[in-house]
């Protein structure tokens, strides 16, 4: 609760709304005991007095009635009516929603059909129709506004109730012989109260506005009684000669509705877990860079990653996803980067072209050099011109990584045309050719397909074709076969291998599967807890893993590929990268761990083969 209030007031606008609304409600409550003129006391000698005149702080209206007094009494009335309408709509809507959602079946069907019908009306129109029947009057306007809002509540609450009605404790209660009424009252209702309250707090502003509107039209409160809407309606004829009589009630409505809306938004935001965790932040065009120093290049390499550090900063917590990782890739070479999920392998790969979602991602150190030129912190335009042209990506799940609403041909054509000023027709020809290159049958027709019309394997071929569109030098493949079944997986791997041979591509291949690495990669680097723990030529590592973690990974490869069982096969969980232990990150899961392993920094040692372990399985 205190967290809730803190979040609410951290949102300054919501706090402002709460204060304004508080003052208005307080004034409305105190109105009867404040020293005011009677609101209906007419005095034709004092018509249309301006604000700040003697004895009438806000002036008077067309009958010489004190505006301040009428304003406060009107506010009282408007607030009461708005609140009552929200309460009635909320309760009636919730009752309908609960009954429909709980009993389901035909009850649900019939009720919801009726609700849909009501929602087919533009709702101010429905309110007018109801007032037409009941006749003008404040109470009738209240009823009309409440009724037209019932469908909204009924629908919301029904949805929530359906979710609750199928939980175990409801079934248990039913089996225990509890009656429907008791189950509804003890199990269902308590769970939906918060939802009703939130829905009410976000709609009460509307209700005040709508009743004011009906009164403004002359269909709500009738003279001499006046709410804010009818004050505005009466003042309309004198808009030009005495504008203050309109401005005073109008501004009051605006203040009330605005403060209610601000507060309602604040409440909703404070209760939204996604906002709390910052999960609704939008990723920027390139990853944010906060780098103090640029490390010297530690050697040659077509693509060199030196001491790369990428973090996720969520609130005050820092997750070191990539911790001083160095890698190099030669032209035409395939390097496998392997590790469990959460080891930082994907983040490493995405950091190369600044594609780590930011916020929360930040590159805090290191360098990524392409042909000797550092890309970290490079101007966006340079980065963009390299993306897809020099370094292209293939992602894991092509269903979510291809745009669902564009034809695959158009996506390919776009990929070509962002880097090369060729005509649409030319690009189209090349798109078809690309699809043929990745062995998509009937390519000329398939360019018109949408991603959802293709099978998973075909989609991934499209993903590969898109990566090849500009004949890049490097392809970074981020688990490109994980979402596919085993036979398709083998085909895709064979395709990648063939393309590599034919086009002289360098590939950085990210996977959690040693079987895949064995088929494709020249060298392999093993990541654990954001660091490289072992690297070397694939064959050597496979035959004699030096790091205990590598050994385990290899041990649980099934015959070929398809090894999602790996994760379960290693006892213990991968470390959370916001609280890495001192010393070796693998120590809690390692059966060779000694005291020395838990102290100090352990270095990555060796020449062509390197390992970060005090007691390696074989000497590197």
């Amino acid at each position: 609760m205190s967290l809730f209030l803190k979040l609410l007031f951290r949102n300054r606008l919501a706090g402002f709304g709460a204060v304004v609304l508080g003052v208005i409600v307080l004034l409305a409550l105190l109105t009867p005991i404040l020293p005011l003129h009677p609101p209906n006391e007419t005095n034709t000698a004092n018509r249309y007095l301006r604000p700040l005149s003697d004895g009438h702080l806000l002036g008077t209206d067309h009958l010489g009635r004190d505006l301040l007094s009428r304003l406060l009494w009107g506010t009282r009335l408007s607030l009461a009516v708005g609140f009552a309408a929200a309460l009635i709509a909320g309760l009636a809507g919730a009752a309908i929603g609960v009954i429909a959602g709980y009993f389901g079946g035909r009850t649900d069907n019939v009720t919801m059909r009726g609700i849909d019908m009501l929602m087919a009306f533009p709702y101010i129109l429905l309110a007018l129709a109801i007032v037409a029947v009941l006749g003008p009057g404040l109470l009738n306007a209240l009823i009309a506004v409440a009724v037209v809002n019932i469908p909204f509540f009924a629908r919301n609450i029904r949805g929530v109730t359906v979710g609750i009605a199928h939980r175990e404790f409801i079934d248990a209660a039913r089996l225990a012989g509890m009656g429907h009424t008791r189950i509804l009252l003890t199990e269902v209702v308590p769970n939906i109260v918060p939802v009703v309250v939130i829905a009410m707090s976000t709609t009460i502003g509307w209700m005040i506005l709508e009743t004011a509107g009906l009164s403004f039209l002359g269909l709500g409160s009738q003279p001499p009684q006046a709410d804010l809407g009818s004050m505005l309606g009466e003042a309309r004829s004198a808009l030009i000669t005495a504008p203050h009589t309109s401005i005073v009630p109008g501004v009051m409505i605006l203040l009330i509705v605005m403060s209610v809306n601000l507060l309602g938004d604040g409440i909703r935001d404070a209760l939204d877990p996604r906002l709390r965790s910052g999960a609704l932040a939008r990723p920027m065009a390139a990853t944010r860079v906060e780098r103090r120093e640029v490390p010297a290049a530690q050697g040659e390499g077509f693509l060199r990653i030196d001491a790369l550090e990428t973090q996720f900063q969520v609130g005050r917590r820092i997750y070191k996803a990539v911790n001083k990782v160095s890698l190099d890739l030669q032209p035409g070479e395939c390097l496998g980067l392997i590790g469990e999920s959460g080891s930082g392998k994907s983040v490493t790969a995405l950091s190369v072209m600044g594609l780590v979602a930011s916020p929360p991602g930040v590159i805090t150190g290191g360098a990524v050099r392409l042909e000797g030129k550092d890309l970290i912190g490079a101007p966006y335009e340079l980065l963009r011109s390299l993306r897809g042209r020099k370094v292209a990506y293939i992602f894991q799940d092509p269903l979510s990584t291809l745009h669902p609403l564009y034809r695959i041909g158009d996506q390919l054509i776009e990929a070509i045309r962002v880097h090369e000023p060729v005509s649409h027709g030319e690009a189209h020809k090349r798109a078809v050719k690309l699809l043929e290159d990745v062995r998509i049958p009937n390519a000329a027709a398939r360019v018109r397909a949408y991603p959802h019309e293709l099978s998973g394997g075909m989609r991934q071929r499209v993903g590969i074709a898109m990566a090849l569109a500009n004949d890049p030098d490097i392809i970074i493949a981020d688990e490109p076969t994980t979402a596919l079944d085993v036979t398709v997986q083998a085909q895709i791997l064979a395709l990648l291998d063939e393309l590599r041979q034919r086009r002289g591509l360098a590939i950085l291949f990210i996977t959690h599967d040693f079987g895949v690495v064995g088929q494709l990669c020249d060298r392999v680097a093993v990541m654990y807890g954001g660091r490289i723990v072992e690297t070397g030529p694939t064959q050597d590592v496979l035959e004699g893993p030096a790091h205990p973690y590598t050994k385990r990974l290899i041990a649980c490869v099934p015959e070929l590929g398809g090894g999602r069982r790996i994760l379960a096969a290693i006892p213990g969980l991968p470390p959370a990268v916001d609280q890495l232990p001192e010393g070796c990150a693998f120590a809690p899961r390692c059966d060779k761990a000694q005291d020395a392993c838990r102290r100090g920094e352990i270095e990555l040692k060796g020449e062509t083969r390197k390992v970060r372990c005090l007691y390696p399985e074989v000497a590197p």
Binding site: R113, A120, L128, L219, R282
Partner: protein, 315 residues
Amino acid sequence: MGGYILKRLLSAIPVLLGITVIVFLIMAMIPGDPATAILGSYATPENVARLNRFLGLDEPLWRQYFIWLGNMLQGDFGRSFALNRPVLDEILDRFSATLILAGTAFVLCALLGVIAGTISAARQYGFADKAITFVVILGISVPSFFLGMMMILIFAVQLRWFPVSGMYSIWGGGDLPDLIRHLTMPAIALSVVATGVVARLSRGAMLEVLRQDFIRTARAKGVHERRVIWGHALRAAMVSIIPVLGIQAGFVLSGAVYIEMVFQWPGVGRMLVDAILKRDILLVQGGVVFIAACYVGFNIVVDVAQAWLDPRIKT
């Protein structure tokens, strides 16, 4: 696509029937009988009975409904007793004015709302986002009728940029520029709330989409950020924005009532309010059914647009 449109048209029939039932039932709940309302309280019982028979009010309720429905299908919405002319004629005369007003307001709210929401999302937490968010809050909280009055005060009375009210000038008016001068203020006043709602939802939809994997793919291809936002992301976000636009269309169509009152705009909204105050039931009944039917029709257009935009919807 053609098949989908036909299917959608057919599915509108039960909705339209439902609307007539609801309107009929609401109107049947009116206390007292219309004959007395028409003839006044001094009418003799014989006269009331004769008029009731003439109006078909001595029949059972369900027969009354079918007679009413049958007549409407033939274009006979009854006669307005206050205006002494056929209801449909009156509605059709007025409806074009409302359509011009609401249509303009709708186009404004759709364009400005989507643009503002997209900018807001693209610059999340930046200055533009904060400024837009603030204006939006203000926009959705201001009563349109009050806004209209203030606009009259400032732009018509003080600055004299626009005429105070009406649809055409009495002398020498009637052409398009004249209409536009009269239309500007009411259309803006009517669109403000809807623009706010659309902007807000567009922002949310865009933020949702911008985190999706296919946006990262677009960036990885080297697509320019401007095109990522206004092309890839907005296109995908439109799928959830369009239904909101449908709801807002209903909102501007019925919210036109207030604006027509403030600006003396000769539309159906004002006609309805007058009819309610005069208890001219047939006119209210006809007007409500007519507007609701238009709204149903518009929603079909929205659904078709949605299906055209999203190939995943089975057509």
